[in-house]
Amino acid sequence: MDGIRKSFEGNVVLKDVSFHLSAGEVHALVGENGAGKSTLMNILAGVHQPGLGTVRLRGANLTIPDEKAAQRLGIAIVFQERSLFGQLSIAENIFAARQPEKRFGRIDRERLYEEARVLLKRTGLDEDPRTSVEELSPAQQQLVEIAKALSFCPAIVIFDEPTSSLTERETQGLFGVIRQLKASGVGVIYISHRLREIFQIADRVTVLKDGENQGTLQLAETSTDDLIQRMVGRSLQLRHQDAVAAGNPIFLEVRNLSDPKSVTKPLLKEISFNARQGEIVGLAGLAGAGRTELALAIFGVRPRGTGQILVRGKQVEINSPTQAIAAGIGYVAEDRKEGGLFLEMTIAENVAAACLRRFGEFRLNWCEHVAVAERFRKSLRIACRTTSQTVQSLSGGNQQKVALAKWLLVNPTILIVDEPTRGVDVGAKAEVHELLYSLSRQGAAVVAISSDLPEILDISDRIYVMREGTIAGELSRRDAAEESIMRLASLSAN
């Protein structure tokens, strides 16, 4: 692998970007959303053709007309958005359309499962290849995706945000796989918004901003601040400065909440916690610890067995999101595309979704819609042409801002945010954090669920750690550190 160099004409997405990857190197690619990372990788994968410039592999010029050609050349991509067939088995997913065959086109199942088993072992996923993919956790599905990439015996593997749905421990597992690849001479391109990971795994880093290369650096010779400065062109204040009075009244209290015994897999057991006015409470834990389930149970989506929910000291009856909203609770869903946004509707319509009553029962006020959306567009710095454009045309960070704006309009006393910055770039991430701070300053109680430990440590005043459906412990801002959280989160799991 020798060198790639290309530029785009017309709509200039990449301006004379050069990118070199050596064998056995982990090369990180960073930049804000829209900086051109995906376009660059799509050219390498044969999805797009370069307008100008050349791609060279091991010194030889080549063109990559389509994805199939890229696969033949040994270029494999692990996509951010999983592209698996849920109801098929792991093995069939890995070898989709390339199953080993016996005579008459019959699938050779024994070989299929054997080869799948070998690949799974390399990724460290301990599952029977006959298991259907929908039974796996998101993290395990990610590993299947990696096994699929490995099945092409690639010379280059591109990881696009591979850790956005992984917990800390799973991330370390993934890094093990990447180091193995590296040791066997494979060139790895690693795209991530999480700079800390890049310092752990990568050898070199290339920063893109507005389609231009802002420099390729040895990681030993740079720092987080330097990278951020190059990515956004300004330095960002990332730390939460407020000290919150511990004496504020309790806004949300959950007492002994458990799943009903009747469900097949009860998860939540005897959960009690609280959040005070003006406080940001973090909920940490591994994937599957029950954080999202807890949020859904409080929000009236998931049925509850026992337990009480108190808002401002008064017990409330919540059996549906409508009742939760009426009680003053908001919930920013974990997956904004699945549970937060109406993608083909306009920004204005999305912002209005959770309080349609405000805009009139029988004489809907469209101008008011737009006026409200314009207000949020300015205050949240949502980058868009007009608030009448559809949400699907926005970048991930701006979509997340719209999802938040929907709840800011409701103005809840208690806001639960579930993975508020997943797949969001550094600049937008800081803005989302700033938003949570100002919300708490205005007197709301914020409950933040996140798998991103530095984020949780950064924004929370107090942290609860969940493990296997229970609260494993509570840490004050002063006592909390990545080690103490991880210890609580995985104590009995090991």
Binding site: S320, T322, T346, S388, S393, S395
Partner: protein, 331 residues
Amino acid sequence: MPNSDVQISDPLVKKKAAQRPGLFSREVALAGVTIFTILLFWILYPTSFGNFRNFSAIVRNLAFEGILAIGMMIMLIGGSFDLSVGSMASMIGVVTAALMKGWNWPVPLAVAGGLLVAALGGFLNGFIVAKVKVNALITTLGTMGIFQGIALLIGGPGITYLPESFSQFGQAEFLGLQSPVWVLIILALLAHYAMSYTRVFRQFYYIGSNAKAANLSGINVQRLQIVSFVLMGMLAGLAGILYASRIATATSTLGVGAELQAITAVILGGASLAGGRGTIWGAMIGVFFMGLMKNVLIISRFSSEWQGIVLGAVLVAAVAIDSVVNRRQSP
């Protein structure tokens, strides 16, 4: 990414920007094709096509399907659909006729009774889909057979010679158009207003666009799904009653195939099976276009077998063009 700060200060521009987006929409394109077809046949057949009696006949024949299409459009916008509407129309026509002929109920009471049965049938559909969580295709495929069976059980082939006090409404004319056409126009205007300006009905766009997100935004998805099925049932029942009134006969097989005609019309008019898209006026253009095509095929002396072929081709072509254009717009 650079933020192009386009300041919108002109109130007129603002109002326009508030409308739903999409420069190329299927309903606008279809309206164009419809006007083109009318002009073409006006020139080709000035005497047999281009006269008021012919137009009156076109709209009279589409009152039935038009009322079904209103309901079907609301269903599809909400991401659901109902295959039992044709059978429902047949059943309610027969039930209403049986109430006034067999049981000697007064006409208004018989009509109310018929509509009540329609609402119950719709509720049954809605309950099974929304609460029991059976797929809408399977549920309404089942009730389609059930309603048709009930219609045949009660009415045999049909109930004829309905009382004049009943048939005089369906046969009445105003400004040269029969009363079912006026009912259609009024219902379409009401539905258009409801889908554009009332909170309750606007929620169907949210549900069709993303039901999970709608639920998490506090929209009562299950209840609205049931409402849409009840409404659809009552519209289908009303269509059946009006048709029976117009021909003074309740035919047990009146609605055979009407569900597919209605779905075809609303998809032509801009709806999507995925939900969240469509307008009532689009549904009306879809229905009118289908009626127009049948009419011009007859006038230009094609045999009736050609109707299915031409409409089928137009349906697939319309959706295909839409899909290609949309793909080009968003790279």
